[in-house]
């Protein structure tokens, strides 16, 4: 049977292609995820959203109405527009994450449609990991169920910044306001206990179309925008722009001897030529020379653009390293605490070693302990000695090499990782870093640290990166400055009239080198040695060479 399309929907103003192209290019992108229990009507809601916003083609409707299983009594089973695979068509439930795409005049949308069945927590986490917004469906007849709480918990754990709570099947309850308000009150309290973002509650009927695309005529007691209106206008928090610059290096680009660049995608922040950067793990400093792209050099790159950076200095940088703002450096640790969603049918085994992929680097990792497991029904913490598929725990992990990260709450890219089972190659766990753990030094045998001392270890010990400061021909100033730096715990050396290779050797040892020579100083300095030394100290702090003491505890984990 052909679809009966509401003729009023087909009204279109005079179409001007140039206007349309301009409007299209200005559209931004909202990624959202949907969560609900098996019978909450999630697939129906998405099907309705696609259908009413005219994002379904007629032949797709035809194929759906002709499909061998037709589960609803209505003319079109909207859920069949979204349920893809044969197996689930036969079982009548959604079994995996399905991605759907639609656009309105204002915005382009990507939906991660994830199942609500108990055993599929992992799929919900997957869909939530890239989402800007979560729609949590509650069946008005059943009220707030443990599953509803679990969906909100996972959406919040994965750092989704916007929530919509859609109370569905209002038509069955004769659009009763009291039912809606009771659910709203109960769930609001739950969300505030979670520290979840503010949520938009709205009563809908996916089957009848109330408050999905158009505002309902059946609920005069509700004046808020429809689901689609809200999706079109909610600000996509561009948190990544205001967070410090992070650039995990994917590849070193060296097409010939004249070009050396670092290809990657900005995880967060903004970068411009001239910006001071620190490269980790080497701890070396430089400045951005240029931002190269196929379309020409950029004067600015903002996350999440993929670009190639060139630097003023030739540094030893390879895949897996991170280039970061020199002013706000990432945390560094080998031991940290993370929330982990277990994704694999082989449970977490503390005796085994896993591979941990964090941004572009892969290291080996051990789980030292399970701090607690989250009871997925009561959301209470409980003791555990393993994690099974679809369970969530807080783990203490230790990696073979230090990783450079930000807590997940601040940065969803540099704060996340996956665990890979090296025997099966399965993606076993998904982790969100909470904080570094200071190593328990007295309990760790010294022999455990092997190999060359790394620049990162030096930074952690000295509290500063290596650097050479040219003071001009002022040995007195060098002495004053040396004393000041020494008193702050710095490893400092004065070099008089020596050539630059000596400075380089000392820098490799992680030292602050004060160079006295008959040449220009790095800064215009006051005559007075005391004043000059204070000015240099301030500059070293501002530029991130000297790190604030409170940041240094993270280095303890190295």
């Amino acid at each position: 049977m052909a679809a009966a399309v509401d003729p009023t929907l087909n009204f279109e103003p005079v179409f001007e292609i140039e206007d349309f192209l301009a409007q299209e290019q200005a559209k931004d992108l909202l990624r959202f995820t949907t969560a609900g229990s098996v019978d909450d009507g999630k697939s129906t809601l998405i099907g309705r959203l696609l259908f009413d916003s005219q994002n379904v083609y007629e032949d797709q409707i035809k194929a759906v109405t002709q499909a061998s299983v037709n589960r609803s009594a209505g003319p079109i089973d909207f859920s069949l527009l979204t349920d893809g695979l044969r197996a689930e068509r036969e079982q009548g439930i959604t079994i995996d994450v399905a991605y759907r795409y639609f656009a309105t005049a204002r915005r382009k949308f990507i939906i991660a449609d994830t199942p609500g069945h108990e055993q599929y927590t992992r799929n919900m986490a997957t869909g939530a990991s890239t989402a800007d917004l979560a729609i949590i469906l509650i069946d008005a007849r059943n009220g707030v169920l443990p599953q509803s709480r679990r969906h909100a918990y996972i959406a919040n754990l994965l750092g989704i910044p916007n929530f919509i709570i859609a109370v569905n099947k209002m038509d069955v309850l004769d659009y009763d306001e009291e039912t809606f308000r009771a659910i709203e009150a109960e769930f609001t309290e739950f969300l505030s206990n979670l520290n979840a973002p503010d949520a938009y509650f709205l009563p809908i009927s996916a089957l009848a179309g109330d408050n999905v695309v158009r505002r309902s005529r059946h609920m005069h007691w509700f004046n808020g925008p429809s689901l689609l209106e809200h999706l079109e206008t909610v600000p996509v928090y561009n948190r990544t722009r205001s967070t410090p610059f992070r650039f995990p290096v994917q590849r070193v680009v060296r097409p010939d001897q004249t070009f050396r660049g670092y290809a990657g995608q900005l995880a967060s922040g903004v970068v411009r030529p001239g910006d001071a950067i620190l490269a980790f793990p080497s701890g070396q400093r430089s400045r951005v020379k240029s931002i190269e792209t196929f379309d020409g050099p950029l004067f600015e790159a903002v996350a999440p653009l993929s670009v190639t950076l060139t630097l003023e200095d030739e540094l030893d940088i390879s895949r897996g390293d991170v280039i970061a703002s020199a002013q706000q450096v990432p945390e560094v640790a080998r031991q940290f605490e993370a929330s982990v969603v277990w994704l694999n049918d082989r449970p977490l085994d503390l005796a085994r070693t896993y591979l941990l992929k964090h941004t572009t680097q892969t290291v080996t990792a051990e789980v030292k302990s399970i701090r607690h497991r989250v009871n997925i029904t009561s959301l209470e913490h409980e003791a555990a000695d393993n994690l099974e598929m679809n369970s969530i725990g807080v783990l203490h992990l230790e990696t073979s090499r230090p990783i450079y990260f930000d807590p997940y709450l601040q940065n969803r890219i540099t704060g996340s990782f996956i665990l890979i089972d090296p025997e099966t190659n399965a993606t076993a766990g998904a982790g969100m870093i909470r904080s570094a753990i200071a190593a328990e030094r007295d309990k760790r045998p010294i022999a455990k640290k092997q190999g060359r001392v790394t620049p990162a270890e030096r930074i952690a010990r000295h509290g500063h990166t290596a650097a050479t400061v040219s003071l001009g021909p002022r040995p007195q100033l060098a002495a004053v400055l040396e004393r000041k730096l020494f008193e702050t715990g710095s490893a400092v050396a004065i070099v008089e009239n020596a050539d630059l290779t000596i400075c380089a050797v000392l820098e490799r040892a992680g030292l602050l080198v004060l160079r006295v020579a008959n040449e220009r100083a790095d800064w215009d300095l006051p005559e007075d040695d005391e004043q000059a030394a204070n000015q240099i100290m301030a500059s070293l702090r501002d530029s991130g060479v000297l790190m604030p003491r409170e940041e240094l505890i993270w280095g303890e984990g190295i």
Partner: protein, 300 residues
């Protein structure tokens, strides 16, 4: 700088994916189908590796039933941008006279596309194959991962896919296994055309309307590219102003009546279309859920 538009965001994601492939695999290859999505893929690869060259060869599975204009475009464009091109054909099946009228579309695709693809990948020892499939094309594709695991027989298990979170991709495989990688997963047909327009990307001229000789059967226009297309009694080719919405093998690709001879006109047409793009590709409709069956067997 204002909010990044959706095309820039999609582009950045695709470039990230291609660079991960280049960095984490020994022998990656890009499947090149000559269509508009492949053209976009090629441009993204140029961007991903700039100022260096594209870091993997292109593999075209030639069923020998592609349109002449497609092959001409393939050869001239890949030469122009300096990409390395490998062409693989299931010559044995062609010699045995395989064509969709003798074998039916399912068996024909199985031999000339699926088997040829698997053989071509094996012959090159490729451990990762980049393809231009989009999730909005077909329902089973909507569930496929960006990095999609294939066992040693090249087969896909939709129930046993690796969860894919953030932009952290698990690329670990054992010898003999491989991954198919789809950098355009999150692009829609509209995004692809918009990008072609904005970036001025060259595409096969068959996408543009002109007068062409066609067999007209109801709503379907069948191009007369191959000698073995059986005409019905009394049926004669007509000159029709038309274009292709998607490019496949000539016996299985219908044209649509159209006046759209520029990219903006195509976009304009797309907006008014209420038919999905694969409607005229016979192969997706030969059996309910047919794309999923083909994919399980190893089809792209």
């Amino acid at each position: 700088m204002s909010q990044l538009g959706h095309l820039r965001l999609l582009e950045a994601e695709s470039i990230h994916i291609m660079r991960e492939v280049a960095a984490e695999f020994q022998r990656p290859v890009m499947l090149y189908s000559i269509g508009k999505d492949s053209s976009v893929l090629l441009r993204l690869a140029q961007k991903a590796f700039y100022p260096g060259p594209i870091l993997f060869p292109l593999l075209h599975i030639d069923t020998t039933y592609k349109f002449r204009e497609m092959i001409e475009f393939r050869d001239s464009y890949t030469r122009k941008i300096g990409a390395k091109l490998i062409v693989h054909t299931n010559q044995e099946a062609i010699d045995d006279g395989a064509n969709p009228f003798r074998l039916g579309t399912q068996r024909c695709c199985g031999l000339l596309k699926t088997k040829a693809l698997l053989d071509g990948l094996r012959a090159g020892g490729f451990d990762a194959a980049i393809g231009g499939a989009r999730r909005d094309e077909e329902k089973s594709r909507a569930k496929e991962r960006i990095f999609s695991f294939r066992d040693s027989k090249g087969q896909w298990d939709p129930k046993n896919q690796r969860p894919e979170l953030w932009n952290v991709f698990n690329t670990r495989i054992d010898p003999g296994e491989s991954l198919r990688v789809f950098p355009l997963s999150n692009w829609t047909e509209m995004d692809v055309w918009q990008y072609i327009h904005v970036e001025k990307i060259p595409i096969v001229p068959m996408y543009f309307a002109k007068d062409r000789e066609m067999l007209v059967r109801g709503d379907t226009l069948i191009p007369l590219e191959q000698p073995f297309i059986p005409c019905l009694p009394g049926e004669r080719p007509q000159l029709v102003r038309c274009r292709m919405r998607s490019l496949g093998c000539s016996p299985c690709t219908g044209a649509i009546r159209s006046d759209a001879d520029t990219v903006p006109k195509i976009i304009e047409e797309l907006v008014s279309f209420r038919r999905s793009e694969r409607e005229n590709r016979v192969i997706d409709h030969d059996q309910e859920g047919s794309m999923e069956i083909k994919k399980r067997e190893g089809y792209f």
